[in-house]
């Protein structure tokens, strides 16, 4: 387990950033999310079959497996894009039935996508601002005049966004439209956007896909920092076993929609089922 942390999010004086991670009354190490016997199919294709696992508060949980193992589908179930035909997801102790993604977001689940899904027409700054949508509430009237509360709110959140920019060291591209950025930076901006929501649970879908070594190192450092400094629980999908071994506290392995192993990275690495699965589909 990475060092449990309490206290402030970023080193800033204005006390803006209430830590959503601590609001839910779940202590570090307790179950934050439990997937119980989840099954999902599209038409006749079974994407996920009877998968159950848990994510503990404060840990980095890796979900690995060969292509088509159902990893991304699992994330999509967790944040409400897909509704499983069977099984339940319990988040923060609450069993949930069908929810929409924006409801998952408001419960504190944020994520990044396998293929960067940024808002290409907007700048880095606006993209990260977009991550704070849920935290902004000023009504239409004030928005119309961009004065008073609406402006104050905008400024307040801009400040919070700047902290993330500082955290991710992307000052130089603050006002660049994200479409013009290289892939590695886009991934970083996407992480920034997810962080801006101050999630309790952060889902990262192959955060290092397509990156070079240096970018991977940077990204690993950011992920660890997010986990240790902000206390955010992280579930990540990753192909690079080296990265998983370095980052993850616990690993769950999927293959053909089924769970084949679950445990500490070192245990999983030695598991015969896992070795077979990976040998079968070389990476």
């Amino acid at each position: 387990m990475n060092t449990p942390v309490s206290g402030k999010v970023f080193e800033v004086a204005n006390g803006l950033h209430a830590r959503s991670a601590n609001d839910d009354g779940i202590a570090d190490g307790d179950e934050l999310l439990v997937a119980d016997n989840v099954s999902l199919s599209f038409g006749g294709v079974k994407a996920i079959q009877n998968i159950g696992f848990d994510i503990l508060k404060g840990e980095i949980r890796a979900i690995i497996g060969p292509n088509g193992a159902g990893k991304t589908s699992m994330l999509n179930v967790i944040n409400g894009f897909y509704h499983p035909q069977e099984g339940t997801i319990t988040f923060k102790g609450e069993k949930r039935s069908k929810i929409r993604p924006y409801m998952a977001a408001s419960q504190g689940i944020s994520r990044t996508f396998q293929n960067v899904a940024l808002f290409n027409g907007m700048t880095t700054l606006d993209n990260i601002m977009a991550g704070r949508t849920l935290k902004m509430h000023r009504n239409f009237f004030w928005q119309m005049f961009r004065h008073g509360p609406a402006l104050n709110e905008e400024i307040e959140h801009r400040r919070a966004v700047e902290e993330i920019i500082d955290f991710l060291e992307i000052e130089a591209i603050r006002k660049t439209p994200v479409g013009q950025l290289p892939y590695g930076l886009q991934k970083r901006v996407e992480l920034g956007r997810a962080l801006a929501a101050e999630p309790t649970l952060l889902l990262l879908d192959e955060p290092m896909a397509g990156m070079n070594l240096e970018e991977k190192e940077d990204m690993s450092r950011f992920i660890l920092d997010v986990n240790s400094q902000l206390g955010t629980t992280i579930a990540l999908i990753e192909h690079d076993m080296g990265v998983v071994m370095d980052l993850a506290d616990r690993v769950v392995v999927l293959d053909y929609g089924k769970k084949i192993a679950d445990g500490l990275p070192t245990e999983v690495q030695k598991d015969q089922n896992v070795i077979d699965a990976y040998l079968g589909v070389p990476h």
Binding site: N79, F81, R100, P101, Y102, A104, A105, S106, S110, R111, F113, A117, L118, F119, N120, G121, M122, D126, M129, A130, G131, T133, L134, M136, R138, F140, Q143, M144, F145, R146, A150, L151, E153, E154, I155, R158, R159, R193, A197
Partner: protein, 358 residues
């Protein structure tokens, strides 16, 4: 070349996120406003004001409305003409029912009627996208057109089937009806357009505008960030229709003086859409540029044969105009899908980095 940005540093976020952060831009805007409010009323002749400036401004406002929906939220609409009609008829009914109320009140309120109708026809946008939405908005267009003809109550059971604008005063000035001078009407229209442009710009740069753009750029990610598609899309429909409605009301009250259903037909929807495409999707400035271009082009095309001494009949000019506009739409979509506004932005960027190429 004109930009001297060195030394313009921002010490707070309000200044940094200002809509015109560069001093020279603010000066230019002030200059344009001065020309619009002072020079044009003072020097412009009636033809210029009545046939060019007033319709240009009104169409700009409608184009802003459509741009909010199409350019900022990514929802395409072919019902703009009808939504303008809703505003016009609503305004007409209100002035008939409450003749003593200050004319600006029904003008603005008419936008709310339009917004309401827009939201109803926007409802299907929650389930459908793209081309499907075209059909929805066409449904609105044709259904509303039918209403404008068949619901005689809307035009006070006139035999002509047209709505005619009564004379109304504002602060002692006659602003509508036959005796209102073009300059007066122009100034009223200009004030409304400037104010509403400012409001539109505020909304777009705020949380709500951002949620529209999120939906436009990547609706899945937007939902994940907590944007409720229902709210974002309907609010875009509402605001968009509001702008179109006010534009429609002003079109009748401050420009045409009288109108029938033809003023709000599907061709007007196309006209506004062309303004938005040529001007630039997702740009307020583009709405103005597009309106100016589409509106002024025929006038220029009509004038050109005269100037060079050719005698071409009006119908031919009209046809050529169609061809040119159609051709330009395709040309722009190929060469610069972001329209005149992007060309402007590129030119501005060139000026900012002058004499360097980048």
């Amino acid at each position: 070349m004109f930009y001297r940005e060195a030394g313009q540093y921002k010490t707070n976020y309000i200044a940094d996120s200002a809509i015109f952060p560069i001093l020279q831009d603010r000066i230019a805007i002030a200059g344009f406003l001065a020309i619009a409010f002072v020079i044009i009323p003072y020097f412009g002749n009636d033809f210029f004001i009545n046939s060019m400036m007033i319709p240009f401004l009104i169409f700009s406002l409608a184009a802003i409305g459509l741009n909010i929906l199409t350019g900022y939220t990514g929802q395409i609409s072919l019902g703009t003409g009808a939504f303008m009609g809703v505003g016009a008829y609503a305004c007409y009914k209100m002035t008939s029912i409450f003749p003593d109320v200050n004319i600006m009140i029904p003008i603005v309120l008419s936008g709310f009627f339009s917004a309401g109708v827009g939201m109803i026809f926007g409802l299907p946008s929650l389930r459908i996208k793209g081309f499907y939405l075209i059909v929805t908005t066409l449904a609105a267009q044709f259904f509303l057109e039918w209403c404008f003809i068949r619901v005689a109550w809307l035009y006070n059971y006139n035999d002509s089937g047209a709505i005619e604008v009564p004379q109304r005063e504002l602060l002692g000035w006659i602003v509508t009806g036959a005796s209102a001078t073009p300059t007066t009407r122009y100034l009223v229209v200009l004030s409304v357009v400037v104010a509403m442009t400012w409001v539109a710009s505020n909304i777009i740069h705020g949380r709500i505008g951002r949620s529209w753009m999120m939906i436009r750029d990547m609706d899945i990610a937007a939902e994940l960030m907590g944007v409720r598609p229902l709210f974002a899309k309907l609010s875009a429909f509402a605001v968009s229709s509001f702008y179109c409605g006010v534009a429609g009301a002003m079109m009748v009250f401050f420009w045409l003086g009288a109108a029938e259903v033809e003023s709000f037909d599907v061709n007007h929807s196309f006209l506004i859409l062309f303004m938005v495409i040529l001007g630039g999707l997702g740009s307020l400035l583009g709405s103005f540029l597009g309106a100016a271009f589409i509106w002024m082009l025929p006038i220029i095309i009509r004038a050109v044969p005269d100037i060079i001494g050719l005698n071409i009949n009006a119908a031919t000019v009209e046809h050529i105009n169609f061809m040119i506009i159609g051709g330009l739409i395709i040309f722009f979509l190929i060469i610069e899908p972001h329209g005149l506004a992007r060309l402007w932005a590129i030119a501005k960027q060139k000026l900012r980095v002058w004499p360097f190429p980048y």
